[in-house]
């Protein structure tokens, strides 16, 4: 009999304890109502990414002169574990230096390890803060030189943000041969540059990235990228 009463009391204690714990849990959950949501309003508001974020790859230009920084040393091509960089260059007969003809990165293969950016001697190839590269075909993920090259403003932004030493001014050399070579390639297959430029880039936010071969002054900041492409070449 005492046993029974004892176990009954224990049962009641147990039940009340359990109820109390459940109540505690419910209350704690309900209290979260008063805290602000942590959701990021992503498409409405671009996320703030750190400068070293490993996003889409791009080629910088000298922020002052606008000339392409790549010296075609092929370090990045060699180090890439996925073999997704393809560089075309030939030795110019006059200067005995490598002239960059085309630079292709297959972003469909790239795993954004950033190794190529680490080995580049001139800080030419970098990871940008852009990650919106979704596209309809695999082939459109292969970016060519034109699509990869950043504008001067963007380059300046990344040089500052990533704290990379600015390139030493090279002897002035027109960028014309490279531009001409790039134009000779069937660049038209690349679809109009609908990529989004890096978020934090100040004014150049709307400027498409296809403009490296020309001095940036000439590039008007246009709203629609599709109308912009013909004006480049």
């Amino acid at each position: 009999m005492f046993n029974l009463i004892g176990s009954a009391i224990n049962g009641v204690k147990h039940a009340l304890g359990g109820l109390y714990q459940v109540k505690r849990g419910l209350e704690t959950v309900a209290m979260h109502t008063w805290r602000e949501p942590t959701t990021e309003a992503y498409p409405d508001k671009a996320p703030e990414l750190p400068p070293h974020f490993r996003g889409r790859l791009a080629l910088t230009v000298n922020p002052e002169t606008g000339e392409n920084l790549c010296i075609s040393c092929r370090q990045c091509e060699r180090v890439c574990p996925d073999k997704c960089i393809e560089i075309t260059a030939n030795k110019s007969t006059e200067t005995n230096k490598l002239e960059l003809i085309d630079f292709k990165i297959d972003h469909g293969l790239c795993m954004f390890c950033g190794l190529c950016t680490e080995v580049c001697p001139t800080y030419c190839i970098i990871n940008t803060n852009d990650f919106e590269m979704a596209d309809y075909t695999r082939s459109s993920l292969i970016y060519d030189l034109k699509k990869l090259t950043l504008t001067q403003e963007e380059s300046a932004y990344y040089f500052a943000a990533k704290e990379m030493p600015l390139p030493k001014p090279k002897p002035a050399k027109p960028a014309a041969p490279a531009a001409g070579a790039a134009a000779a390639k069937p660049a038209a297959e690349a679809k109009p540059t609908a990529t989004v430029s890096p978020k934090p880039a100040p004014e150049s936010a709307k400027a498409p990235e296809t403009t490296a071969d020309k001095p940036a002054k000439e590039v008007e900041k246009k709203e629609s990228p599709s109308t912009d492409t013909p004006s480049v070449n």
Binding site: T28, R35, E36, T39, A41
Partner: protein, 475 residues
């Protein structure tokens, strides 16, 4: 191992007012839409058409108007269920988002208010797949059998929640609660059928679990309601609702009427007219302290019964923490693993409708139906007091609506408001539970049902039967 015994409260109440406001606005506008629509249909079918037909001279006019009136309750339920389920899903998602510091659906419509409507459309447009090897007939019948009882089971409650409006008296059965319970035990057949017919081992297990669970939890559920009926002395939901009118102390959750005497006595004390306090007390509690003990026991018992009812109802409708039939982490999705498109939508609809119905039963049986919780003697805002001057002030407009068109029925309106408030509060609580608790294990669930709840309800039943003898109810 440090676990402090106190509730850990949030330490930065920086305020989430914007989201809470959105939630409130969304809920209020949806509720308005739902109930205006439902009442509009009822009024058109049950009042307006017969009114028009009354003056016409063709032969079948009388029959036609009778048919219309008879169809009104069903029309009300049929209109109500889909819209309400949409709202409840949305409310659940938004509320869970509030609890988990998210935004919740906020894309379709203003602040995401139309999200579930879009979902419903999407579900209806989806391909309807019957898996290979499935029993096609059973597979198709299962959602219907699951869904149909929630339509017909709800009918007797209509009168109880609308203050016995004359449109709904037709479905007011003398054995109302019995009918509701009988109807609510049918859906499990649908689940078992669906589980069996899907030709999927997970579905089969889900279906069988559901059968076991529903059978075991039906007993405490029914016993708790039967005990309330024992106290009320009737099975008629409308009379049970009426018995509880007059404030919190009369509600079944507090002694099932044991405190009516107290309520009356205090009312006498306050108004200082009529019978003196002691006299009233004596009339209701004739055996002195024994009666008081009885009343205390009854109060305790009914509170426990309410808890048992909530647990049983949760299990009956497969909600967390009793959602074993569709235990996602074990059985993929249980009995509805193979369902898609419109059939899945029906399962979904029925689940939420069942939640609404069990909440409504709780409100009618325990929480005083459409009654304001403040006791009449304390409540200057009680229905007549507010209504009379208001009605006078608005008489030119309202009298047309009330007396001529019968579009507004103030007692019904008032009662319905309270029922809506109470029911959705219970639903909100169910959502909170869903956001907190993990799920039982099937054998623990059975243990809990058979070894805890059923003995408790049986003991309470006996206690109530004795305690009832020492108090006068409803003098």
């Amino acid at each position: 191992m440090k676990i402090d015994g106190t509730v850990v409260r949030g330490d930065h109440f920086s305020g989430n007012i914007a989201e809470i406001r959105k939630f409130a606005v969304m809920s209020l506008s949806w509720l308005t839409v739902i109930f205006v629509a439902v009442w509009g249909v009822c009024w058109a079918l049950g009042i307006f058409i017969p009114m028009c037909l009354a003056n016409s001279s063709f032969d079948f006019a009388a029959i036609l108007s009778e048919v219309c009136k008879a169809l009104t309750p069903i029309a009300a339920v049929l209109v109500f269920i889909p819209i309400n389920a949409m709202f409840m899903v949305l409310m659940e998602r938004r509320a869970l988002a509030l609890f988990t510091r998210r935004n919740g659906p906020n894309r379709v419509g203003p602040d995401g208010a139309l999200q579930t409507a879009a979902d419903a459309v999407k579900l209806l447009l989806k391909e309807d797949i019957t898996p290979t090897g499935a029993d096609a007939l059973m597979f198709t019948l299962a959602p219907i059998i699951f869904f149909a009882p929630s339509i017909f089971g709800a009918l007797p409650l209509l009168a109880a929640v609308t203050n016995n409006h004359k449109l709904f008296q037709i479905v007011d059965l003398p054995t109302g609660i019995f009918y509701v319970l009988a109807a609510s035990s049918v859906p499990v057949v649908g689940i078992v059928m669906g589980g069996w017919a899907s030709n999927n081992k997970y579905s089969l297990m889900g279906g069988l679990r559901s059968a076991a669970q529903a059978i075991s939890y039906e007993i405490p559920l029914v016993l708790s309601l039967v005990t309330i009926c024992l106290l009320a002395g009737t099975l008629d939901v409308v009379s049970i609702a009426y018995q509880q009118s007059g404030g919190l102390l009369n509600w079944n959750i507090l002694g099932g009427g044991a405190l009516i005497g107290l309520n009356k006595a205090i009312a006498a004390l306050v108004s200082s007219s009529g019978a003196p306090f002691a006299e009233v007390m004596n009339a209701y509690y004739p055996y002195g302290w024994l009666s008081f003990v009885g009343a205390a026991v009854l109060c305790m018992c009914t509170v426990i019964l309410f808890g048992v009812y909530l647990i049983g109802a949760c299990a009956e409708i497969n909600r967390i923490p009793f959602d074993l039939p569709e235990a996602e982490s074990e059985l993929v999705s249980g009995y509805n693993t193979e369902y898609s498109g419109i059939k899945f939508a029906i399962f979904f609809l029925a689940e939420f409708t069942n939640l609404f119905i069990v909440s409504t039963i709780a409100v009618v049986m325990f929480l005083g139906s459409g009654d304001c919780p403040l006791p009449t003697w304390l409540n200057p805002l009680s229905y007549p007091a507010v209504y009379e001057p208001l009605a006078k002030a608005l008489s030119p407009v309202l009298s047309v609506l009330i007396n001529d068109l019968h579009l507004i029925n103030p007692p019904t309106f008032w009662a319905a408001l309270w029922v809506i408030f109470k029911t959705y509060s219970l639903i909100f609580f169910a959502i909170l539970v869903r956001g907190t608790l993990p799920r039982f294990r099937i054998d623990q669930l059975m243990d809990f049902g058979w070894k805890r709840l059923i003995p408790i309800t049986l003991v309470i039943f006996v206690l109530v039967a004795f305690a009832r003898g020492v108090i006068n109810f409803h003098v």
